[in-house]
Homo-oligomer: 690 residues x 2
């Protein structure tokens, strides 16, 4: 079953440096945390022990020096947001529970104080938070409302009588829910509540609220419930928080975008309540950026494990005597190689996202256009990467058979822990609708201003001046006609221009189609407009997915072109294979569309599948180096099947069988006996005849 | 956002009886087990406690009277195999751990004694096993080999000196692995080992081996390891078993298909060792049949939960004031309704499978043709249904947002427990390859006899005389031409004949294509033939999937046609919607293929998506009744979000908001204030002017 060998001589270190990107040093620091065994959460710990171990492991994150990277230089930081997030997302290798707990503590709780608090508030609470001395919750989501933050029910009523806010949970659905650190560890919380001052509801603002006293008892009026067992992330103590007329001083309002002065007068630097709300929420983008990266880390780990095992595990004897290595099976290659290519795309695309993130958060370019592009890309990337990671982990787990189901081989734990990534920090479906809505708004000024109601309304008010659509797509789409020459041979099917044109023209057409279908909404009443939007919701989300796929492909393509092909011919070549496999896989996934809309002739479409098969076979021969470039070692993988045990066992078995066969009295296979007897009978018959 | 209502007045009981099939009474008995709380495995139990609770709950299964149903009538049974399996698979609602533990104990351990043992052996061990008094393991899989049973390494050497077998694990990879009941509870095991008698290796046979003494200590020479934590099924104590020259009496060989007499002479009623091996393994089909059913139960439970929640949960305000019910969103319908249709197809197809199973196992029709058809269908159904169940559970969990991730809402547990279904009792990929190989063999006599090596060899030796392909497909495929009239309108796109023709012709063409590609193998050496087969492995598996999809569609179609449309017009109509949604979804999934191979014109293909949207909307209006027909109650669902808590909370919140708004001093929204001020300014300006 061995065909031609397509192995290229690869410099794994070179590829690894490309993947790790400009913040490689921070990534390495993040990976080193995995070397501390105390954060690994062995399965036989109780839930409480896992929570304590995770809390205690926070100090490794603090010790790594990462948590203060995003502080301004004059506050002792480096204004390094991308480096911070890079290091952070690598904590997945230590344990996703630690990554998320650290995300709650430093990113969300600390981040809210940094981005929404004033200097005085930062002086009091920020450093203790970033040092892990003041543990906190980010109390936004309620039982009744998650992704729809504007509809939160918790109220913060200003009481001029004693210059304080009265925080209150007026009904059960307004109870804060799924709040990390709430069940056990939070001493304080940043609480999202409707701010009511002097009879006016100013919408959602954030307050700093002490929730437990020094002995860990709930502060008066604060009550907790434990979310208990979840599908994963056992080290994170999620819980519910309710407030019964809890008073906090006026100065506990994080007041960068909305303040109440000593006279009880509300003011804000942003006049429009809608813009103010979205500005406050914009700091949430950091969570989405880091989930995009964390999901990428998780899929790399899973592929690393499954491919190492697939290169050792043998099953079913081949044409000769030796059993066949799993990764030599055509189907096994088809399951894993396109996912490997996609992991490369996710990694390079994530580095681009980090670039935008750093520009906006460092202040290098925090124009509204840059902010909105960041938000759109973070939303789309987070949604697509987290789903992809879940699928990839599941395929990897199945590719390892029964061994994949054993907790000690890590894959089931990664799936369980990553599961919630699809619905937290913005439900993936809602996030993709946001991306779709932006595409629509860019496509048509008219559509930007229609009130579609429902979820669409939330997004409508965020419309921006820049154009994703026109800048990114139209010029690419235009070139597609040129590529439709009838004589496309097998190698031309791998043309990068062709791939980009197909991917881009799909986005273009899908958005145009939805826009056309929505046009009547301009003259309709709101209910009809909303119904029309709803009829197109599925199509709009598909368009958003197509757009994100295009961006990921472009990032991979760019990374490939950035390699000096003269200095690094093999690496450039393997990246081209990866890009082509990713691009063609995307095209194959939607091949019906490409044919239906006349982008691919049927004859050409039939070449896609075989081209993918060839690329899978070629990449298989460098599979070891390609996962090696991810830069993980046994401390990060911690999967018994990925470290050579299987090969060792096979060697032992083979050695035993060799010895047995060499023995004079080795048993004869009954089948051989049957064949022998038949031959003897035949010979005897022949002898009789002659 | 409310469109026309398509609600039909449905008789849920009537639909439920259809779904539950001819063994409804056994299903109800199985569901009742879920009412015993002691098998529910609350998350806060330790692993040991979960294992003990599951073991203890076995008695509910025994008490239900189910375990003896498959015994012959003269042994006190009912020869009722389908009823037995029907009741059994419903144990998933109690806990998948119990279902699997019971499957190991009664189905595999008991089943091996019943099907492979002689009368004396059955008299000694069978009833104690079926009463749960003698707990046992089914020790087939080894670390080194799972799906490839023929390559097992454990040996059973006959020693004439003391008329016993010496059971031995000659190397680490031959250790029995993932064995249910092994870690704690098994007193005995049916052990698969290569039988060596008088210098001849007769291939894999099964022996009854006591593994623990009355105090639970390992028998001399037997050693155990605990598999510990897995991705799910915590109540099943999986472990490893190794044998160090363990002696068992000659009479412990389960000798229906291979015996050793008192003189140490081996004999078998089946001369060919290959056929003998597959005959012994054929009893394994029961496991696959019941996993097909258990996976169907799991997907029904998940849909029941997610759809009930989706009908209550509201999120994002609609065009008016009230928030929109999740299931009114177009995308939400697109996520859940096609899966609901597929669950119906899985349920009806499973009943057909049970029919074949009953015919073969009861002896009503145990012809080789019937046996092989059963094996092929069980393999294909098990693979496709278990994958589908996993996907459906995941989609359901995400459709419930954060609540879906909470253990108390059941969905994450179902996913974790069902995960291993994809790779045990035959890896899904290997099973589908078996189906594909059968299709090939039926297509071409020539291909049936080529030795492709590898996994294909295993299957090749099972070739049968009957024809799946010719009987099931060709006549359907032939009608497709007639359907290609240019004037297909929107309603014709729902034509059942059209759906069947498209699904069938796809199978036909895919099989023909692979067969053509493999033709050169007939004249090639084994290595080249194997390589050629491997190049086509992916395509062959896709063809097998298409075949299973066709069978499932046909089962659903048949069930629909069996309803008397005059007596039950609404039920017949809703089943037609379900069939059409399932059929069109399958066609949409592979729309590229249908266009590429000229089966669908582009114009017609573009009608599929909108037709699916319309069907989703229509079925949404009967969603409550359609999951109601599954027949589960709170005791089976046990999901906090599925029992009305959400609606209650919303009512409380709405009531609060009503009261607040009625107050004279209710806070004014700042946005309203802005609008008011603008209006006043405008009015003032107007007043100045006039």
């Amino acid at each position: 079953m061995t065909a031609a060998n397509h192995r290229l001589d690869l410099d794994t270190g070179f590829l690894g440096a490309l993947l790790d990107g400009p913040h490689a040093d921070k990534r390495h620091r993040g990976r080193e945390v995995a070397e501390h065994a105390d954060a690994h959460l062995p399965d036989d710990l109780t839930l409480d022990q896992k929570r304590e171990a995770t809390k205690d492991a926070l100090h490794h994150v603090v010790d790594s020096g990462m948590t203060q990277l995003p502080l301004p230089v004059d506050a002792g930081g480096k204004n390094d947001h991308a480096g911070y997030v890079s290091g952070f997302e690598e904590l997945v290798a230590s344990s996703p529970s630690l990554q998320i707990k650290a995300g709650v503590q430093f990113g969300l709780f600390g981040g809210a104080i940094q981005h929404l608090g004033n200097a005085e508030q930062q002086a009091k609470w920020l450093l203790p938070a970033l040092k892990g001395e003041l543990l906190g919750s980010f109390a936004m989501t309620e039982i009744g409302h998650g992704s729809d933050v504007a509809s939160l029910g918790t109220t913060a009523l200003y009481d001029p009588a004693d210059d304080s806010f009265v925080l209150h949970t007026p009904f059960r659905a307004a109870t804060k829910e799924y709040i990390g650190n709430a069940a056990c560890h939070a001493q304080a919380a940043v609480v999202f509540a409707k701010l009511i001052v002097d009879g006016v509801d100013h919408g959602v603002h954030v307050l700093f609220v002490p929730v437990r006293d020094e002995d860990g008892a709930p502060m008066p009026g604060v009550s907790f419930e434990d979310d208990g067992y979840k599908g994963g992330l056992p080290g994170v103590d999620n819980g519910r928080i309710a407030f019964d007329h809890v008073r906090v001083p006026r100065t506990n309002l994080l007041d960068r975008y909305g303040a109440v002065d000593a006279d009880g007068v509300y003011s804000s630097p942003i006049e429009s309540p809608g813009r103010r709300f979205f500005t406050m929420l914009s700091t949430l983008v950091q969570g989405r950026v880091s989930l995009d990266g964390a999901a990428t880390v998780a899929e790399k780990l899973a592929l690393d494990i499954a491919i190492r095992y697939g290169l050792e595990r043998r099953q079913f004897s081949g044409a000769g005597d030796a059993e066949t290595v799993l990764l030599d099976y055509g189907r096994h290659q088809r399951r894993l190689m396109p996912r490997l290519a996609r992991a490369y795309a996710d990694a390079f695309a994530h580095e681009k996202l980090l670039e935008s993130f750093q520009a906006v958060f460092s202040g290098a370019d925090d124009s509204e256009a840059a902010q909105q592009r960041l938000e759109t890309e973070a939303a789309g990337f987070k949604a697509m990467t987290t789903w992809n990671a879940l699928d990839t982990i599941q395929v990897c787990r199945e590719a390892c058979g029964g061994a994949g189901f054993m907790a000690e081989n890590r894959l089931v734990g990664l799936h369980a822990d990553l599961d919630v990534f699809a619905t937290f920090e913005g439900d993936n479906t809602v996030l993709l609708q946001l991306v779709g809505k932006r595409l629509l708004g860019d496509y048509s000024e008219e559509l930007r201003h229609i009130d579609f109601g429902g979820a669409a309304r939330l997004i409508g008010s965020q419309a921006a001046e820049y154009s994703l659509y026109r800048s990114g797509l139209a010029n690419v789409g235009r070139t597609i006609g040129d590529l439709f020459t009838p004589a496309l041979n097998a190698s031309r099917i791998r043309s990068g221009k062709m791939q980009e044109a197909l991917l881009a023209s799909r986005v273009e057409s899908m958005v145009a189609q939805v826009a056309q279908d929505l046009r009547p909404a301009a003259k309709a009443d709101p209910a009809t407009a909303a119904a029309l939007f709803n009829d197109n919701q599925h199509a709009l989300i598909e368009a958003a997915q197509a757009y994100v796929e295009l961006l990921k492909w472009q990032a991979l393509n760019e990374a490939m072109h950035a390699v000096d092909a003269k200095a690094h011919p093999s690496e450039a070549k393997v990246l081209r294979r990866i890009r082509d496999l990713f691009g063609l896989s995307l095209i194959e996934e939607h091949i019906g569309w490409h044919i239906m809309f006349g982008r691919l002739s049927m004859a050409r479409a039939r070449q896609i599948g075989p081209a993918i098969d060839r690329l899978c076979r070629k990449l298989r021969d460098n599979a070891a180096e390609l996962v090696g470039a991810f830069g993980y070692g046994p401390a990060q993988r911690r999967s018994a099947i990925a470290e050579g045990a299987e090969a060792e066992r096979q060697e032992e078995a083979a050695e035993y069988l060799r010895r047995e066969r060499a023995k004079a009295d080795a048993p004869v296979d009954e089948k051989v006996l049957h064949r022998r007897r038949k031959a003897e009978a035949k010979a005897a018959k022949g002898a009789q005849k002659s």
